[in-house]
């Protein structure tokens, strides 16, 4: 008997978005099972961030349906959207930290504004989130006084402090060194398991995404051209998947071709 698949937390169908003549999303669809970590891969400019912003309700799609926990999110249902925002967090590519607030104040902000916790509880929970992300020592620093990696972790601390059910990550590893990239993916996977939230991660990093994710989707030409498990992604014969997956091998071949040609000798002066 086949194992029963977990219920969907997020169901996206036929998302379309255009900016003038530029069609960015052309019917993109995605299913996100509850409790899973789904990575959305794609080339630069493929519309991954736009897709994620439509999911997060930051941007309105021209067409398409988004259902969260079985309830359709539409412009005419502000209650459903407010409920969605309460249960969802978004981690921006630029981090979007408040530069006039300290690290602790940044993390405390969503708790202060969306919960009825006491000041002491807010302080304790914010400090705990900073401690988990190894930022406790930098609690009184402003974002501009932190390194890029620290800012990323601070943004993650702010995203998880409200204990959301769904966290959307917009290129969380952009601009990080390989070690820190692994650490961020490990951190996402760890907290995703620890807190039980569902995660949708938009990224370029194929190896890390394949290791850390439960499911992988590939966005190309405004559509999801692949959706499946990492194992299925690794063995897929789909041309666009092969191009993306085997990009390192392709780079190796190109470089081998270049190196085969002898380098020109410097002219005698």
């Amino acid at each position: 008997m086949a194992a029963e698949s977990p219920p969907l937390l997020l169901h996206v169908e036929g998302l379309r978005k255009r900016f003038g003549d530029n069609i960015v999303l052309d019917g993109a669809s995605l299913d996100v099972p509850r409790g899973s970590l789904v990575s959305v891969l794609g080339r630069s400019g493929a519309g991954k961030s736009v897709f994620l912003k439509c999911l997060a309700d930051v941007m309105q799609p021209d067409e398409g349906r988004i259902a969260f926990d079985g309830r359709l999110l539409s412009a005419g249902d502000p209650v459903a959207r407010a409920e969605f925002r309460r249960r969802c967090s978004f981690l921006f590519q630029s981090n979007a930290l408040f530069d006039s607030l300290t690290a602790l104040e940044n993390v405390a902000l969503p708790l202060e504004q969306t919960t009825r916790l006491s000041d002491q509880e807010i302080h304790d929970r914010s400090l705990e989130a900073l401690r988990q992300l190894e930022l406790e020592a930098h609690r009184d620093r402003y974002p501009s006084q932190l390194s890029g990696g620290m800012q990323k972790r601070l943004a993650l601390a702010r995203a998880i402090v409200t204990k959301p059910e769904l966290v959307l990550f917009d290129e969380p590893t952009a601009g990080l060194d390989p070690l820190r990239r692994n650490a961020v993916f490990a951190m996402i996977a760890k907290y995703q398991r620890q807190f039980g939230f569902t995660a949708v991660v938009v990224t370029h990093d194929v190896p890390e995404a394949l290791v850390a994710s439960d499911r992988v989707a590939l966005l190309d030409n405004g559509r999801m051209c692949f959706e499946g498990t990492p194992a299925e992604f690794s063995t897929s014969a789909l041309g666009v998947v092969c191009d993306f997956r085997d990009s390192t091998t392709a780079l190796g071949s190109s470089l081998a071709d270049i190196r085969r040609v002898p380098a020109p000798q410097p002219a005698d002066s």
Binding site: R85, F92, L97, F98, Q113, T114, T162
Partner: protein, 258 residues
């Protein structure tokens, strides 16, 4: 040509409606917003302290110049004793609220438009929305409410300093008896004048901060530029439109209240 005029008129009406909606939504969003009193206090402190030095300096020089000019004009008719009345009525009914509003535009208004524009550019406003926090309630409403309280106080301070400036130039430099100056002030200013002054101050403060917030908040909608240039263009537009609006509103209020 008719089409161009029509398009501009429609754009103007649309912008006015958009601005009115923005202000209305901002005030409405304040209801039930968490810890708004704290944010109002902070906004009031920022608006107040940012403008305080310039209010004191400009107020003093305005009073000094009014005292000097007024004394020489009144002296021609042998009416120097009315200097206090001239300075006080000019300041209370007109110059106090108008000049203080222009100082507010130059100091707090431009800073506010730039700050909100940068917050829009760096996705801080979008981040608030994704957290389920109303950006109107968090960023705009405290500033609007603070302006309603702080700006009349600033106008009153401007007038007080200006009156002392008038006294300084009239009495200390030109030899008018201080008692004559201050008794003329006391006799000239009536409650109706003070009411007009505070009405103007409340309206100017609200219009100025609302316009500057509106332009900064909507910096991403700037058609002529993007990024840092959009912030710069929004700030410039905020300052120019606020200054013009203050003078236009001054005329309208004066024509109704006089």
């Amino acid at each position: 040509m008719l089409r161009t005029i029509g398009r501009h008129t429609l754009n103007f009406v649309q912008a006015m409606g958009d601005f009115a909606l923005f202000t209305g939504i901002s005030f409405r969003s304040a209801i039930g917003s968490r810890k708004i009193i704290r944010r109002i206090a902070r906004a009031g402190y920022e608006q107040g302290t940012r403008c305080l030095p310039v209010i004191l300096i400009v107020g003093m020089f305005t009073g000094l110049v009014l005292g000097l000019q007024g004394y020489y004009v009144l002296n021609r008719f042998g009416s120097e004793s009315l200097l206090g009345a001239l300075v006080s009525l000019s300041l209370v009914r007109e110059l106090g609220p108008v000049l203080a509003a222009l100082m507010l535009v130059g100091q707090a208004g431009s800073a506010l438009a730039a700050e909100l524009g940068i917050q829009r550019n760096s996705e801080q406003i979008a981040a608030l929305e994704t957290m389920g926090v109303s950006s109107h309630a968090y960023l705009v409403a405290p500033r609007l409410i603070a302006a309603l309280v702080v700006f009349p106080m600033q106008a009153a301070l401007f007038i007080t300093v200006g009156l002392w400036g008038g006294s300084l130039s009239g009495s200390l430099l030109l030899g008018l008896e201080p008692g004559i100056y201050w008794s003329a002030v006391e006799r000239a200013v009536e409650s109706q004048d003070v009411r007009e002054c505070f009405t103007k101050a409340v309206v100017f403060g609200l219009l100025t901060i609302a316009l500057c917030s509106y332009h900064g908040f909507n910096a991403h909608r700037c058609r002529s530029a993007t990024g840092a240039r959009a912030v710069s263009a929004s700030t410039t537009r905020a300052v120019v439109q606020s200054s013009i609006t203050v003078l236009a509103a001054d005329y309208v209020i004066t024509s109704f209240l006089v």
